[in-house]
């Protein structure tokens, strides 16, 4: 998978900004040719990740979100400004979130060594 273009946004870890990230990914995914149902899936998964960051790391600064447009899909990478990745999925409600993300996206990778990031990927033409 080669990256064609990358769009980045840096947003405060506050609940009121999650809807802005949803709108942004909706525009990018639409431009890439994802269908409406898949765009909705990506929006839901993105909201779940950001929601967990805010819940676990509220006030920790900002989250950088890189939207990498690939030849065959989109990769979304999250990094928070204090460089640490909290335990995002450790209670019952978190498990709902993880189940949702795992089902709706094709890949999710939590990198706690080195890069300290979370990356999720959705391929074109693979609606759930």
């Amino acid at each position: 998978m080669s990256t064609m273009d990358t769009i980045s946004m840096l947003i405060p870890l506050k609940a009121e900004y999650v809807s802005i990230a949803r709108l942004t990914v909706s525009g990018i995914a639409s431009r890439m040719g994802f269908d409406i149902d898949t765009i909705e899936d990506i929006k839901v998964a993105l909201s779940e990740i950001l929601g967990k960051f805010i819940e676990k790391k509220s006030g920790a600064g900002r989250v950088n979100v890189d939207f990498e447009c690939l030849e065959d899909g989109i990769s979304i990478k999250f990094k928070i400004s204090d460089q640490s990745i909290p335990e995002l999925f450790d209670n019952d409600t978190d498990k709902f979130a993880l189940a949702i993300i795992s089902s709706l996206m094709d890949e999710i990778e939590i990198e706690k060594q080195g890069d300290n990031s979370i990356t999720m990927v959705k391929k074109l033409g693979k609606a759930v």
Binding site: V18, G51, I54, T93
Partner: protein, 104 residues
């Protein structure tokens, strides 16, 4: 944001209509409003989701908490007319087996 309205449709059921979006921003208000509505009545609860466009895992967790409260009083919650995107999240999380879901 969301809107929540309550209507007693007969002696057995109370219909609570939820409109809009339940996300991390609106979830705290949704939890307070929903639990208050449930505490105020003695009937079974029908949650009309016809106009609910989005709910996240936090919202689903609130619904599970509501179901526990209602079942403690031998009552139940029915989810009515969820949109396909909302219905999909119930299926993924297995909550379609915990709640009664009615279409149409």
């Amino acid at each position: 944001m969301f809107e929540l309205s309550t209507e007693i449709n007969d002696g057995k059921n109370v219909v609570i209509s939820v409109k809009g979006e339940i996300d991390i921003y609106s979830a705290p208000d949704f939890k307070e409003s929903l639990y208050q509505s449930i505490n105020d009545v003695q009937q079974n609860i029908i949650l009309d989701f016809s106009d609910l466009s989005y709910i996240d895992s936090m919202g689903l967790g609130i619904l599970v908490g509501a179901l526990k409260r209602v079942r403690e009083k031998d009552r139940n919650i029915t989810i009515k007319n969820p949109k396909s995107t909302v219905r999909k999240l119930f299926r993924i999380t297995g909550l379609d087996k915990a709640f009664i879901i009615e279409e149409g």
